[in-house]
Symmetry: none
Subunit: 195 residues, 4 copies
DNA sequence: AATGAATGAGTTTTCATTCAT
DNA sequence: TATGAATGAAAACTCATTCAT
């Protein structure tokens, strides 16, 4: 619970992030969110249509941020495709860095958020498409192996990154973001085989 | 004693897997599971304490199978550590290969299954520990790079694998297991950089 | 649970007395009674129509015993009416003396037993009627005060006796039957005023 | 805030008294109570934790009233101990006089109310202790026989009174409170023996 | 007669959502 | 807007009773 200047709509969404992160979407009660936001239960419904809407708004906010950032990165022409890949990992981690609760909701409730709602699948695909584009450029330039199964690869790195963020959000002291950042970039590029 | 034509206990568990996979744990109703298993609602409670127990039994069955298989693989002395890593990926995929619904439950409900239940976290850690052991051997033999952050790496591959299984379970025709199998092994070992 | 020679019907009824005494009628489960009687759940229904029937049979057995004993006492012509009153108290206590569990069921479940069943009210009235007859004789003989409101008085002593039996059944070491017997007889006859 | 025309909390408790009196605690359904109180089923749970809580609140209210009244009586120094005893009988009857349903619940559900709850046993004991104190004073002043087994006696009169209240509540026209009041006081003090 | 697995009607309780103020 | 009391639909779970063997 926080003292606030008066942006109830934002307060409620932040509260929802905290509560969803703590108990999971289905175990969270609207009155808990209201309490966390220091508003009355009914006020939640002034700003949000229903419980599901809260979750959707969280994902919407998140995906649009991710997409905007990614767009920026993908448009920096000075970067090699491998540098772009690194930059994408960074932006991804940066979005969550300030807010572990948000990371937990993102990781744990993605399935629930997608149910009855194809919007996020699209966002998600758009995001991966953009990432893929950079990689394809890298192949043309000979920086990346030519016979890369992109469809598998993008799910590969996305899953790996998601799981590491999950670990970090659960125990930030054990899995520091810096350590994740450094190693992740190595793994996806070079693998682990001793040459 | 009434007839017991089939194995109701098993039927109910299989039905639960189907229903959980389709709707998610929280959106699944006991009567749906009963119906799917062609038994009365009350019969579910003859064999299982409650809804959560159903989920736990599914995970128990799964993890014990995974662990047994992994143990076997890790004890084959003839394999190099990289071959072992491949074998582990295979066994993991093989467990789910016959049952996409099971894969979906495993991937989507892990968090719910762990709540109020530390048992599975242990299984999971035991599994990763065993995998890690093989990798450490590989480092000693010079097959794997020495400066590998194992703690990050094991979460890296586990997350990647989980996500790929998820994609496959959702659309097996798009993401065939063979394709996943082949590419995954390449990625984790060699990365994607053109040398 | 006991080992028995083979009178299942009786075993089940005794088991019901124990379980009803321990948990109360409504909190008792048929399977508990079956277990206590070392029979299968279904066997209870071989001998008794349903749960309520068990309770009715217990009360039936009890009231018929009480009534038979009372009849005997009331027919002993050598006794004064005050001696008869004492004898009645004794027979009442004697019926329960050997079986505290039975006493508890009798005291606690009387209301439930009477619901949907007027039979016991009749027994009960018959019992009190017979007791009343002895008292009326006593009035004629001048042993008992003439202006006694019998209708109130009989409920008075019945309630008092019931409560004392209850106390005894709950903690026999604190409220011994002998002590109850002795004092009860004094109270109903002489009161407590110092003359 | 929605209108609160009456006092719903009190309405529900009163409704519970009526329904419990009519059907018994275990045969009463929450929706019956809600209906009797003209509220929705869920509203019962706004004011009371669960069904058992309703019963507890009834007993709490009752015992505290009884105890307060008793305290008052016991502190009137002008009364002899026998007069105090009479006054106690009066207060006891007065509490129920206006509400037969309450009397029935008090008499019939005491055992259920005590289960999982020692609070009421304490109230009950405190009540009897206070009554006992008055009697002991009477013994010192020579108003009451010295060799009175108080432990038995207090259970004796309590049981008798309870049963008479029960009869009255069931059929007030047959057992008028006035008649009970008058006779009860005679019985406990003087017994029935013609001197 | 005896069994105990199977049944499903019946009830409590929860909680997202509404709405009068 | 903001409130929070009131709602009632929905679901998990219980357990007396049945019945095929």
């Amino acid at each position: 619970m926080r003292t606030r200047e008066g942006n109830k709509e934002k307060d409620i969404l932040n509260a929802a992030v905290e509560i969803f992160a703590k108990f999971g979407y289905h175990n969270s009660k609207i009155y808990q969110i209201a309490q966390e936001a220091s508003v009355a239960t009914g006020s939640v419904y002034v700003y949000y249509k229903n419980k599901e809407d809260l979750l959707h708004k969280i994902f919407e906010m998140l995906w649009s941020r991710l997409y905007i950032e990614l767009k920026k990165v993908s448009e920096i022409t000075e970067l090699t495709s491998l540098e772009k890949l690194d930059a994408m990992v960074d932006l991804y981690l940066d979005v969550f860095a300030e807010n572990p609760a948000l990371a937990l909701v993102f990781v744990n409730e993605q399935i629930q958020a997608s149910r009855n709602q194809t919007r996020f699948t699209k966002y998600y695909e758009k995001f991966l498409d953009l990432a893929e584009k950079s990689l394809t450029e890298g192949q043309l330039r000979g920086e990346i192996i030519a016979n890369l199964d992109m469809m598998i690869y993008r799910q590969f790195i996305f899953g790996a990154l998601r799981n590491l963020i999950h670990r970090w959000a659960e125990s930030p002291e054990e899995f520091s973001l810096g350590r994740i950042r450094r190693n992740f970039k190595l793994f996806i590029k070079n693998g682990i085989v001793q040459k």
